[in-house]
């Protein structure tokens, strides 16, 4: 458990846990793929399509949000032009990839059908991701807040009071020990 507050070490540990789990899932799937017990998925083209569509959609979304939130004092020329350009470039690269034969199974091989299929795939994946984040961290919050603890003396203070107070931290620490 963390006692000295080394944030960098803590986040490195957390990143390694996530990476380890991802590798575990990939290995489990890879073993089955090597055994040839899957249909032809075309994982490489799925990866390229998902990356290009995700880049295009996120850039486009940020562009629209930038336009909606712009006002006369905001200088958003770089953001607006940059994200619009990124959206166009993403769409162009996607079209180029499909035209050069990098297609996925499950839809016609024209650009729009491939884009629609890829976009639906990543939208469902993203929805699943947000659902699991909300569910898991919701449960964690329920568990964490379920523990009874001694009342915090700071909670009795009013936020509108400007009186200077002193909290006897040393004696509190002693009593906790």
């Amino acid at each position: 458990m963390n006692s000295d507050g080394d944030a960098r070490r803590d986040w490195r540990t957390l990143s390694l846990v996530v990476l380890g789990l991802l590798v575990l899932i990939v290995l489990a799937n890879l073993r089955l793929e090597v055994r040839g017990e899957v249909t032809d998925v075309g994982i490489w083209s799925r990866f390229v399509h998902a990356a290009l569509i995700s880049f295009t959609v996120v850039s486009g979304g940020i562009f629209l949000a930038t336009m909606a939130l712009s006002h006369k004092h905001a200088r958003l020329v770089e953001q607006a032009l940059g994200t619009l350009l990124a959206t166009v470039v993403g769409a162009f690269l996607f079209g180029l990839a499909v035209d050069s034969g990098l297609t996925t199974t499950g839809a016609a091989i024209d650009v729009w059908s491939q884009f629609a299929l890829g976009a639906l795939r990543i939208l469902i994946l993203q929805a699943a991701g947000w659902l699991s984040i909300a569910f898991i961290f919701g449960i964690l919050l329920v568990l964490v807040t379920g523990r009874e603890s001694s009342p915090d003396p700071l909670l009795t203070l009013e936020s509108t009071e400007f009186e200077i107070i002193s909290v006897d931290t040393e004696s509190r620490a002693d009593s906790e020990e």
């Binding site: 458990m1 540990t13 846990v17 996530v18 789990l21 899932i25 990939v26 489990a28 799937n29 089955l32 793929e33 017990e37 899957v38 249909t39 998925v41 994982i43 490489w44 799925r46 990866f47 399509h49 998902a50 990356a51 569509i53 995700s54 880049f55 996120v58 850039s59 486009g60 979304g61 940020i62 629209l64 949000a65 930038t66 336009m67 909606a68 770089e78 953001q79 940059g82 994200t83 990124a86 299929l117 639906l120 795939r121 939208l123 469902i124 994946l125 699943a128 991701g129 699991s132 984040i133 898991i136 961290f137 919701g138 449960i139 964690l140 919050l141 329920v142 568990l143 964490v144 807040t145």
Partner: protein, 262 residues
């Protein structure tokens, strides 16, 4: 209009306008907020009023999928909120007796999802939803990662959170176990080969989603940085007017009189 134009008008256009509606809804000025709400309602109406049967397109099937998982999702969300706000926290508007009800609702939602997974997968007009395996494998894969992260997070960042970490680790292992079971044994309606293909494909999509999404966010951060760098140096600030000076003095006198009298 043909089915493709219908899909454009009732699915893709509303979907593309969603970021605009969300951004308008959180804008500071009232007219934009109202425009955002109006756009949000229009999007909802356009999505709900599909002119064609849902089973005739992949877009329609994706809407059917959302309707199918709406029940367990709502039950889980309500259960979490009830359990949270009836617990021993400073802001708890609900009675303590309701906490077990919330926890039972969460368990029921998981049971409902399991029933759908193993016994009754979503279908429409006698056809099985083609997105179901994609959703399940996505949900299980992300659950393994998110639960594992939550377990490590609670243990590393928290103070004596062994119980919470253990529950989160168990949840991660359970999700992994279910995923492996599906890959090895399948379900009544789906052969394991299809589950393997779905899981393998999801990994490609997930990696692409992360790479593309973070690349776009990184680019946006870079653009903001360039924009900030190009801002002109601000000119000298106007001194306070008499009225502003009097107001500042009044506030200082009220809260730190000893500092003002120095």
């Amino acid at each position: 209009m043909g089915p493709e134009q219908d899909l454009l008008l009732h699915f893709w256009l509303p979907l593309a306008a969603t970021p605009l509606a969300l951004a308008l809804m959180i804008a500071k000025d009232s007219p934009r907020r109202w425009a955002g709400r109006l756009l949000g309602i229009t999007i909802f109406v356009a999505l709900v009023m599909q002119p064609n049967a849902l089973a005739t397109s992949l877009e329609g099937w994706s809407l059917n999928l959302i309707f199918s998982i709406f029940g367990p999702t709502l039950l889980a969300g309500a259960g979490i909120l009830i359990a949270l706000f009836s617990g021993p926290i400073p802001v708890a508007p609900l009675p303590r007796d309701l906490r077990p009800v919330g926890l039972v609702m969460i368990l029921l939602s998981v049971g409902w999802f399991m029933f759908m997974l193993f016994e009754n997968r979503p279908f429409l007009d006698g056809l099985e939803n083609p997105w179901w395996r994609h959703l399940v494998t996505s949900l299980l894969t992300t659950s393994v990662i998110v639960s594992g992260f939550a377990a490590a997070f609670a243990y590393v960042m928290g103070d004596e959170r062994l119980r919470e970490s253990t529950i989160m680790a168990a949840s991660s292992l359970s999700a992994f176990g279910i995923l492996i079971y599906l890959l090895a044994e399948g379900t009544v309606s789906d052969d394991p080969v299809f589950w393997r293909s779905a899981s393998w494909g999801v990994l490609g999509d997930l990696a692409g989603l992360l790479v593309g999404g973070f690349a776009a966010l990184g680019l946006f951060i870079m653009l903001v940085w360039i924009g900030e760098k190009n801002q002109p140096i601000p000119g000298p600030v106007e001194p306070l007017s008499e009225e502003e000076r009097a107001r500042v003095n009044e506030i200082l006198q009220k809260h730190v009189p000893e500092e003002v009298s120095k």
